[in-house]
């Protein structure tokens, strides 16, 4: 049994030995967290752990005991999309959408620590999130837009 705060709610969930945070989240119905490799190479399983973007497939569930986890499901509030989500839709940064939850969370983590990232900093922040559909152009643009939005410029 592990104790987690997931998207603001306290949870006590069963964890088998060897379970990763990704396994537990998906089993408990938090399926916005995706699995693309299970080995830390694709970023589809990105969640915020204590505010930092991490690959949930690399975190042993037992190690996450007591942690605060935010997944894509916890990003919008009362049906209102997060500015990063809005910008992803506007910019056409979503194709199949399988990488999108992870990419959005990496962007949110970036913008929380850097309100005006350069293009290079944006690319660095999402460099662990592989996307095979988009070529990254529109995702970078979306994150730039989101940054401007969060700074109150748009």
């Amino acid at each position: 049994m592990i104790h987690l705060t997931v998207n603001g709610k306290e949870r006590d969930w069963d964890a088998l030995p060897g379970d990763t945070l990704l396994d537990v989240l998906r089993r408990e119905g938090i399926t916005g967290v995706k699995k693309g490799c299970g080995s830390g190479d694709c970023g589809a399983c990105t969640v915020l752990l204590g505010g930092r973007a991490v690959n949930a497939c690399l975190v042993l569930a037992a190690k996450a005991d007591g942690a605060e986890v935010v997944t894509i499901e916890g990003v919008s509030s009362d049906g209102a999309l997060h500015p990063v989500q809005e910008s992803f839709l506007e910019a056409g940064a979503v194709q199949c959408g399988y990488c999108t939850p992870g990419m959005v969370l990496s962007a949110i983590a970036l913008l929380a620590r850097n309100a005006s990232p350069t293009e290079h900093e944006i690319r660095e922040a999402i460099s662990g999130n592989l996307c095979r559909c988009t070529g990254y152009v529109k995702q970078v643009e979306a994150i730039e837009r989101a940054a401007a939005r969060l700074r109150g410029e748009r």
Partner: protein
């Protein structure tokens, strides 16, 4: 061009929000495995450890006794029907050389046996408990060994059909020509010949293949699966399992990318069999390593191109010869091969004499399949390299040389008719071709004249620019079919039901836009449902760059029929003539006034001569208008390390009217970045016994956000008169560009030709060494 009509588009040509965007961006439970799996059995496959062997025996009793194991499957207890896994139109042009489980394994990663168990651990334990005795056979691990006399025969089974020459491991053979190639070369002042080779590459959709099979209350098999071809899956699963099509329902939810890998029936037969035998839901999901090894790959090819031209630069003859490695099974073997010629040679129709010959051969290596570009990618590497060499030898600017020889609007090519989808093609005249514009804009954007031949140096790095052009098609003429159903609701909204398969491309959105345009409503009034074989009309699925053009035309026709029905109901309400009616802003507008669509539907549903306003329409295209693309790249080559960096990539496309410009750009951007990976880093590597050595996203390097810098994509103004709203395709063409463009740019920078992909530092250094151009 019908300019006035185009300017009047209300929904088409605009960047609407994707109809499925909100669900995707909020992480909704939209993908195959996002449902409750707590009751599902877990399916695991035992993959062959050997490249070529006969299965002497499989001892399953111990595996069956593992607690939690529900079913163990081998060749002994599953249907033996030979079929193809290639999701193509029926009858498929691929050989029937696969069985659910066979008595022979033909590559490391082939199916041996499968288990279904309560948990992953139990399934793994059962796999370990299987005792398989193999009789190892000599294996063919190189394309050149396949046709050698005395080579082992990979498909020696008696019941395989559709193989060109099984005893010589030849899956398919193509040999066509137009004009007189020998005469063409004889009258040429210059002849160049080049041979290029491409590697094993994998699609790596970020969602690996996954299928959830279950039975409904009536015992029908429901397959919720990540596929590009739901209707082909239904047919092929029914065939493989020996059950009627009516007993299978295929649901395609949201799909995490496909790129051709999911134009294949890889999991559905086994998951389906488990559900049928056990009555339990069954989840079969490939791991990333399994996706690399045991799904599908791009056919590696060796392509030789010989060009003949006169001094003034007019091509007289093109001779292209391809050898394609289809791996252990012949999925898409013939058609990918044929495409290598049919999608490339018509581009240079000034060469009146042309020939394409080729063979696809079996090896004991992973299986080739459909992969975005579908043979054209491999062909363009050789063709555009040869064009670059010829331009240089003639002292012509490569852009000018291509301009001189490329097809134009109003022209055709006899190749269109001679070579089609693995059989004869369909004659066609190109009606839209804005290659000129593409070249002009692209040259300007890259700074062609500023960089070309300048070899700007910075330390050991040298820069150069290169270019290439290409065409693709829009669907498979007289074979592909798409259908659409539209029905009206009483609030003036419409359901659009399409078998077309949105796998991330945005086709639900653009097909919705086409319907909205015809029906005069905003996109929000079109409720799009795609790909459920019980609910939506037939469509071949997402491949061959067909969806916008073929399914789009079906949608347009269905919407036009619905519009006529609406007019018929509205005419008496408006008291005017039907000819004067228009659909605009959610209303039927006539001379005498307007009536809302809601009112029209209410009348049809509840009041007078009641009927459901709705229609189904189909499209089987009679031609396949090519989109065109001009590519330019500026690269830097490190003469010390051999490292190549793409500094700037420009791609300018003519895809007709872009129904949704941002999505069209996104198709190009994604394809180009995928192509850059294919050009520079992506390569499946094999051990001496045929085992894939790098089946992970760590060891097989696909481009990340830091690898893909400065990519400029532009769409030119174009209108395809035969397409829905003037559109043609855009899905595949982009991936053909990077290899020849980067190769030609490397040549401009350092004067060496790279003829084997990917252009790794080792290969570049070796080429530099051979040419004596190494670091000073």
């Amino acid at each position: 061009m019908r300019e006035p009509e185009r300017r009047a588009f209300a929904v088409v040509g605009k960047n609407a929000r994707k109809v499925d965007g909100r669900g995707l961006v909020t992480g909704g439970p939209l993908f195959v495995a996002d449902v409750d799996l707590s009751q599902a059995l877990i399916v695991k496959m035992l993959w062959s450890p050997l490249a070529h062997a006969r299965i002497v025996s499989i001892e399953t009793s111990e595996a069956e006794r593992v607690p939690g194991v529900a079913l163990v499957m081998t060749h002994a207890n599953t249907p033996p029907t030979r079929h193809t896994t290639a999701g193509q139109g029926f009858p498929e042009p691929s050989p029937y050389d696969a069985r659910m489980f066979d008595t022979k394994v033909r590559y490391v990663g082939d199916r041996v046996a499968a288990v279904a168990a309560e948990t992953e651990e139990a399934a793994e334990a059962a796999l370990t408990a299987l005792r398989v005795e193999y009789e190892e056979l000599p294996a063919i691990l190189a394309i050149d060994d396949a046709r050698r006399p005395g080579a082992p025969i990979i498909h020696d089974e008696a019941d395989a059909t559709g193989i060109y020459d099984a005893r010589r491991n030849i899956v398919a053979d193509v040999d066509i020509d137009v004009g007189d190639v020998a005469a063409g070369f004889a009258q040429s002042d210059l002849v160049v010949e080049t041979t290029c080779e491409t590697q094993y590459a994998q699609h790596t959709p970020i969602e690996p293949h996954v299928t959830l099979a279950s039975l409904d209350a009536e015992g029908r098999l429901i397959l919720r699966t990540s596929t590009q071809v739901p209707f082909h899956v239904r047919r092929i699963v029914a065939q493989a399992l020996g059950i009627p099509v009516s007993r299978v329902r295929v649901i395609k939810p949201r799909i995490g990318g496909g790129f051709g890998a999911k134009q294949e029936v890889l999991l559905e037969d086994v998951a389906g069999w488990v559900a049928l035998r056990t009555g339990r839901p069954a989840l079969f999901a490939l791991s990333r390593a399994e996706e690399f090894v045991s799904s599908r790959t791009r056919h590696p090819m060796r392509v030789r191109v010989k060009l003949g031209a006169t001094k003034d630069g007019l091509l007289q003859a093109i001779d292209m010869e391809a050898v394609s490695n289809t791996g252990a099974y012949g999925a898409h073997g013939l058609t990918v091969l044929a495409n290598t010629g049919s999608k490339t040679l018509p581009l240079y129709n000034k060469a009146k004499n042309a020939r394409f010959t080729g063979q696809a051969v079996y090896t004991n290596l992973p299986v080739g399949g459909a992969y975005r570009g579908y043979g054209a990618t491999q062909g363009y590497f050789a063709l555009e390299t040869a064009m670059d060499e010829a331009a240089e030898a003639l002292g012509l600017d490569p852009i000018a040389f291509r301009r001189l020889n490329a097809i134009r609007a109003g022209e055709g090519s006899p190749i269109f008719e001679k070579l089609g989808e693995g059989r004869e093609g369909v004659p066609q005249t190109v009606k839209s071709c804005e290659l000129e514009q593409c070249l002009a804009i692209g040259a300007e954007k890259i700074g062609w004249s500023a960089w070309r031949g300048k070899r700007e140096r910075s330390g050991s790095w040298v820069q150069g620019v290169g270019m290439s052009i290409m065409m693709q098609g829009s669907g498979i003429p007289q074979i592909d079919m798409g259908a659409a159903t539209i029905k009206m609701n009483e609030d003036g909204s419409f359901n659009l039901l399409i078998g077309a398969t949105d796998l991330g491309t945005g086709s639900d959105t653009i097909l919705g836009q086409i319907a909205a345009e015809v029906l005069g409503v905003p996109l929000e009034k079109i409720l799009v449902t795609s790909s459920d074989t019980d609910v939506t009309p037939f469509d071949v699925g997402a491949y061959a760059s067909s969806t916008t053009y073929v399914s789009g035309m079906a949608v347009q026709r269905a919407a036009e029929q619905v519009r006529e029905q609406i007019f018929a109901v509205a005419a008496p309400l408006l008291g005017g003539d039907r000819q004067d009616l228009r659909l605009r802003g959610g209303e039927v507008v006539g001379r005498a006034g307007a009536v809302s669509l809601a009112r029209v539907c209410e009348r049809a549903m509840y009041e007078t001569d009641q009927f459901q306003i709705g229609a189904t329409a189909s499209c089987v295209p009679t031609e396949s208008p090519p989109p065109f693309l001009a590519n330019f790249a500026r690269v830097a080559v490190d003469t010390e390390t051999g490292f190549v960096r793409v500094l700037h990539y420009v791609a300018v496309a003519d895809c007709g009217v872009a129904i949704h410009p941002r999505l069209a750009e996104g198709q190009l951007e994604g394809a180009i970045v995928n192509g850059i990976g294919y050009a520079l880093t992506e390569e499946m590597q094999f051990s001496s016994r045929g085992r894939v050595r790098n089946p992970s996203l760590f060891d097989y390097k696909v481009p990340g956000a830091l690898d893909a810098l400065r990519l400029d994509v532009a769409l030119v103004d174009s209108y395809e008169p035969t397409g829905p709203m003037g559109a043609k395709s855009v899905g595949e063409i982009g991936i053909n560009g990077p290899i020849p463009t980067i190769a030609n740019a490397i040549y401009d920078a350092v004067g060496v030709r790279l003829r084997q992909t990917p252009f790794t530092p080792e290969r570049v250094l070796a080429a530099l060494d051979r040419a004596g151009v190494g670091a000073e």
